[in-house]
């Protein structure tokens, strides 16, 4: 019985933390934002060197061959450092789609490129969960039409696209008839966008017996990854709030001596710590406890989002006016948590999904 991280997993988090650095990462996120960059090649190269881009890709395709709990642990560190880099789409969901539904040929073409960071893959799943009116992609005769909203890791070379019927497709970013529009969001560290398809040539990812089950698995996995990102971002916010409270003086004393401030910090920490346990469990469940994986993923996403949102607000308040400014940059974490909350289903939607999965809803 061991409910916890292995030495390798702790080392993975540590080495990534060293690379991202404690202060450098916010500075890089600021530049990324200021220059309206789509991709940060330096960050991506560093992640590739550490094996992050190829984390879950099998070794024969140039990856590291680790599991989805490992991916969740990486996602946590990236959230912690508000890292301006693709990961959830390009390094987790797209490789997973290729590994579970791609042909040997498709895997051989794309997995090595994704592993090395030579290519970035975006993922369009939002029509499979929380579909909008006037959106949705239909496939006919190997061609896609329609619109995909809220595409993850949008600044990409290739896209994995879910259609309305549960099919999955690969589409090149420069395919004829494809119009790409970046959607400005609160979170400037990870581009999100919209794809419009006008009879666009696509390759079906059709090697899976049950494509809809693969889509479901991608959604579950994505939810756990967003939960982990929020976990990391929220714990960074708590650390900053506690450190600030110990430094900042008012009424001739550190504000950390005020019980109201201490209790804000204690409440944040007490609420977030069980999320860590929950995210680990959900990450483990994805591959090891298939019967529980979907419901657990829903709860990890919903609960961590709720706690994360509360932490984001409270940690900002602990900083007083400074928390509201761009100077300390706390809002980068605030916004990261805000984006994570809505993607692949907000808490209410995801809880409804959890109820449906347990046959508690009509």
């Amino acid at each position: 019985m061991e409910f916890g991280l292995s030495q390798e997993q702790t080392m993975l988090q540590d080495s990534l933390t060293r690379f991202l650095g404690d202060s450098g990462s916010l500075a890089r996120a600021r530049v990324f934002n200021a220059n309206n960059e789509g991709r940060a090649p330096d960050v991506l190269a560093g992640l590739a060197e550490l094996g992050v881009t190829g984390l879950i890709i099998p070794e024969e395709h140039g990856g590291v061959g680790l599991g989805l709990l490992d991916a969740a642990l990486v996602s946590e560190v990236l959230g912690r450092h508000v890292t301006p880099a693709p990961f959830i789409g390009s390094s987790v969901l797209a490789p997973l789609a290729l590994m579970r539904a791609g042909s040997a040929g498709q895997q051989a073409v794309w997995l090595p490129k994704l592993a090395s960071g030579a290519a970035v893959a975006g993922v369009a799943l939002s029509e499979a969960t929380g579909a909008r009116e006037n959106a949705g992609v239909t496939a006919s005769g190997g061609r896609l039409s329609g619109r995909a909203l809220f595409v993850i890791d949008f600044e990409a070379d290739v896209y994995v696209v879910a259609d309305k019927a549960g099919g999955l497709h690969l589409v090149a970013a420069d395919a004829k008839g494809l119009t790409r529009t970046r959607l400005p969001t609160i979170d400037t560290t990870r581009p999100v966008g919209e794809l419009n398809f006008d009879n666009v040539e696509a390759e079906p990812l059709a090697a899976a017996a049950d494509s809809a089950a693969v889509v479901r698995f991608l959604i579950d996995t994505g939810r756990v990854m967003y939960a982990a990102d929020t976990l990391g971002a929220a714990s960074a916010m708590i650390d900053q709030a506690v450190a600030y409270a110990k430094e900042r003086k008012q009424f001739e004393r550190a504000i950390a001596t005020f019980q109201a401030v201490k209790h804000m910090c204690a409440e944040m920490a007490a609420a977030l710590e069980p999320c860590r346990s929950l995210v680990w469990y959900a990450g483990h469940a994805l591959e090891s406890l298939p019967a529980e994986a979907s419901v657990t993923a829903c709860h990890a996403k919903a609960h961590t989002s709720e706690v994360g949102t509360r932490v984001a607000k409270t940690a900002t308040e602990v900083h007083g006016g400074m928390g509201f400014t761009d100077l300390v940059g706390l809002h980068y974490w605030f916004k990261r948590i805000g984006l994570n909350r809505q993607m692949l289903g907000g808490p209410e939607a995801v809880r409804e999904d959890a109820a449906r999965l347990q046959a508690l809803a009509a």
């Binding site: 061991e2 916890g4 950390a256 201490k262 910090c265 007490a270 709860h299 508690l360």
Partner: protein, 394 residues
Amino acid sequence: MELSYGAEHEAFRREVVEFLQTHRDQAPGSGRGASALAWQKLLIAHGYAGRTIPKEYGGYGAAPDILKSRIIAEEFAKAQVSPGLGGQGISMLIPTLLEVGSEEQKRDIIGPTLRGERIWCQGYSEPGAGSDLANLRTKADLDGDEWVINGQKIWTSTAHLADWIFCLVRTEPDAPKHQGISFLLFSMKSPGIEIRPLIDMTNGHSFNEVFFTDVRVPAGQIVGKRGEGWKVANAILKHERGSLADPNVMLSRLNGIKELMRSETIDGRRLIYSPVFRDRLMRVEGEVMAMRCNDLRLLSGAVNNADVGIAGMIVKLQTTELRHELERLAIDVMGEMGVLYGEGAPHLRGNGSWQWNYMFFLGLIIGGGTSQIQKNIIAERGLGMPREPKLAIG
């Protein structure tokens, strides 16, 4: 991550299950009648109660194995069979004596306490000493070879049922407040003790006021040395906090709410089809799941001697608050039916246990270190924030 308990432990689980199948009809309902005492004896003989307490003190004498203890708890809970006697003597005093008691105390006290022949109450809190427990005033003066005790305790659970009390008293009035306290054991039948019942908000009589007037206690009935009572008491508080956290009970309560929502209808519609209540249900389910995962992490930390950071420190706060909220949900789900209370009330659901637990857990939010005190502890010891000026504990 390895969530299985392993072959040896799964074999042990089968033993427990077999025991339960063979003997479950001997298990008592509630209370401390003759059948409960006989059941306790049987459990001790098989190592399902007093498992790691040495044989010479009346226990079963097994080597500590956290997973085996957990398996016993899990299987008894699953079978809904009494896991044996509890109470403050068994859950708090015995562990403390094992740590700091004298050889004689261990021999004389642990056995009868474990077998349920001696019931204890905990005399800590006083009117002027609640969260600030070290402020207690009940005093004990040494007169020859006897302590003479005068003062008052309050909130003393089960004092009216108890044979004995473990009690904090001030023996060194001139020492700093944490260093002037001693930990005494004495009979509740001693002359000079008066017990006045306090009715709690559930309408139950669970705790009392206890008054001491010239109560005489043999000098040797002290645990630890004179003035060391605070250290001894802190060991007990640690046990108390740990014992409140059973997320598996929360899971079965949660399943109870699901049952309720599936079976009850309002305006012809099953409650489970109310999106608002369903969302609240799922919200609580997520929180319960997080605490169950946290509990696994603590279990694993204890088994493997691994550091779990603040994951343990937050449990009392989070689980008592969550349990209170969970019981509240059931009440809300029932609408007007939710207010029914009291034995024999028409239309009563679940024997009134939802309202009862809702109130009882508010008591547990307060008792044994309030939620605010828990937050002080988390901020100070967990996050390294400055200590409350007067809370510096020895």
